[in-house]
Amino acid sequence: MENLIANSTEAVAVILFGIGFTMLLFHRNLFRKLIGLNVMDTGVFLFLASMGYIEGRKAPIIVNGVQSTEAYINPLPASLVLTGIVVSVSVTAIMLSLTVRLYMRYHTLNLDEIYRMADHLEDDR
């Protein structure tokens, strides 16, 4: 229990990941799936960012001539989060465009209904 309180941010991150993961996998509405994807990614970024931050240290930009590595945090986790955000944005964009295309064709966002209609409508040679 003490461990959990000490690492509350990480615990929240893992819970967020779990929520997003379940939504992405099990929700039938495409749009909610996408929101789930973003919640899941946010969970990972929160985890990474909180692990990378050390209480009392500063961003790694040298000011007032302090050169000791003890004074600064490692910039790598933050840059990983940035990379991750870029990837997540592009994936979301592509999924949104796919959603639009599906909606134009089937006029619904419910995946079960789309599958049913596809079996009806599409010719499978």
Partner: protein
């Protein structure tokens, strides 16, 4: 430093550049450019392969010359180079043999975009093969996911969009898990480069507390990549994805993209976790059992398919099962068999996916079995190029499929015990099922029907790449020892 040592980096940069260039060319020019540049790339990676075999050691390319704990690295050993040669060669064959269908399936204004996406995909495949940094692995894994979605939806029919959505959702679940695994490993080791990570992990594994985290992180990574590569029970997206894409995409997705994820996984096991620690982990047995299930259930689904493309796609699910079974057996023998099967399957499956549309073309553009009666007699070339990979899939000697089954059996014999019995049973059952559906198909396409014989146009751009793939198949069957020695040397460099 030898000039050849730059080639891994060149292969990635050239592919990225080609991707951008193709968006500016017309469709026809983009196609010709892509073919020429793939040839150049093939020469480059073959040179790297020769270099690593001759020198007998791997080399690393350090980006920006930042030394080891920082910076980013590419690494080229015999194994990476052979996989890269395989990827580029199959990609080139798929582009050549499928160009006719690209013109037919894809809107003319989008053909150049298609080749641009294929080139970006090549960049991702190359980067994932060479990378020595696990986070670059993640970034290019996402690029590979996006581009494989791109080559799928470029054929604009309702089915492909739906298949792409399903494919993307599962892939995103896989990428999310992979990212979480990478982040966990980074947190406990403090490194992203594979060599220092392995050093840290070897120390951490002695500590029981850290061991739990380590096994968990490896497990999450493994689940992520096995979802992406389509291990049983995550294989149900395969038939729609592979079956409805334009043939080049189907061939590339089934024989290269899913293999690239598995190769990254193998690389993580050897270079990040360390093979001794991996052998000690329980994850191996889970992969082994799921692999066996995949072998059997994939084949059962293939038997029930009514459409030749769906059958071939479900048989991919079975073949992925073989590869994971090899990983589950562990040891150099098991991994060698797995990598050999990656190669054998890439060569055979791409040939099957590129041939089925030609069989359909002489059967009223239908892929259903009932319409395919006698199609091999109407188009004998396509018939032959369906016959050879089918025989290889069943496991007839002199073809690659037989050698890989032999390697799996030998690796299992090394292991002994219950695993040996299970492997033998699964191999027998799976071969029997393979034979059942492939021979049934062969009989159907080779028996005479009443329909009139049409004149078939021969396309050299189809026949030549198919002949090359057939020769590769035969070479792997007849000189399997050479390939196994090559792979063995590659694994030797992984230590």
């Amino acid at each position: 430093m030898d000039f050849i040592r730059n080639f891994p980096m060149f292969s990635v940069v050239l592919s990225l550049f080609s991707g951008v260039l193709c968006t500016m060319l017309s469709g026809k020019k983009a196609r010709i450019y892509t073919i020429i540049y793939e040839c150049i790339l093939l020469v480059m990676v073959a040179a790297v392969l020769r270099y690593t075999v001759v020198t007998g050691e791997a080399f690393t390319y350090v980006l920006g010359e930042f030394p080891a704990p920082w910076g980013n690295e590419l690494r080229a050993g015999t194994l990476e180079a052979s996989i890269a040669v395989l990827f580029i060669a199959v990609m080139l064959c798929a582009v050549l043999a499928g160009q006719h269908y690209v013109r037919k399936d894809i809107d003319e204004s989008k053909v150049n975009i298609y080749y641009a996406i294929l080139n970006l995909m090549t960049a991702a495949l190359m980067a994932m093969t060479w990378t020595n940094d696990i986070f670059s692995g993640y970034v290019f894994l996402e690029i590979l996911t996006l581009t494989s979605c791109g080559v799928l939806i470029v054929r604009e029919i309702g089915r492909t969009t739906l298949a792409a959505v399903r494919y993307m959702i599962l892939n995103l679940v896989g990428s999310g898990l992979f990212l979480l695994g990478v982040v966990l490993l980074y947190d406990i080791t403090g490194n992203l480069l594979m060599v220092p990570m392995q050093r840290e992990i070897a120390m951490l594994y002695q500590d029981p507390g850290a061991r739990v985290v380590l096994i968990m992180a490896t497990g999450i990574l493994t689940i992520g990549l096995s979802i992406k590569s389509g291990l049983f029970p995550f294989h149900y997206w395969m038939p729609d994805t592979y079956g409805w894409a334009t043939p080049t995409s189907g061939a590339v997705l089934s024989s290269l993209v899913s293999k690239c994820y598995i190769f990254l996984l193998i690389k993580i096991y050897w270079r990040v976790i360390g093979i001794d620690i991996f052998t000690d982990m329980p994850i191996r047995n889970v992969l082994f059992v799921l692999g066996l299930c995949g072998m059997v259930f994939g084949s059962v689904s293939a038997i029930r398919a009514e459409n030749i493309n769906r059958m071939v796609a479900f048989s991919s699910a079975a073949q992925i099962g073989y590869i994971y079974m090899g990983i589950g057996l562990g040891g150099t023998a098991g991994f060698t068999a797995a990598v050999f099967h990656i190669m054998a399957h890439a060569v055979t499956k791409s040939q099957l996916f590129l041939t089925t549309p030609r069989l359909a073309a002489v059967s009223g553009n239908s892929l259903r079995f009932k319409n395919l009666q006698g199609c091999a007699l109407r188009d004998p070339n396509a018939g032959l190029f369906f016959l050879i990979p089918s025989l290889s899939m069943i496991g007839i000697p002199i073809f690659a499929g037989f050698s890989s089954k032999l390697f799996f059996a030998l690796a299992a014999a090394d292991r002994g015990g219950i695993k040996l019995i299970l492997v033998m049973l699964a191999l027998a059952a799976s071969s029997l099922l393979n034979a059942l559906y492939f021979i049934r198909t062969l009989i159907r396409i080779y028996t005479q029907s009443d329909s009139v014989k049409e004149k078939v146009r021969h396309h050299l751009d189809y026949n030549i790449p198919m002949a090359v793939l057939t020769l590769a198949n035969l070479a792997m069957g007849l000189f399997s020892g050479v390939f196994a020695a090559l792979i063995g040397q590659g694994f030797g460099m992984f230590y």
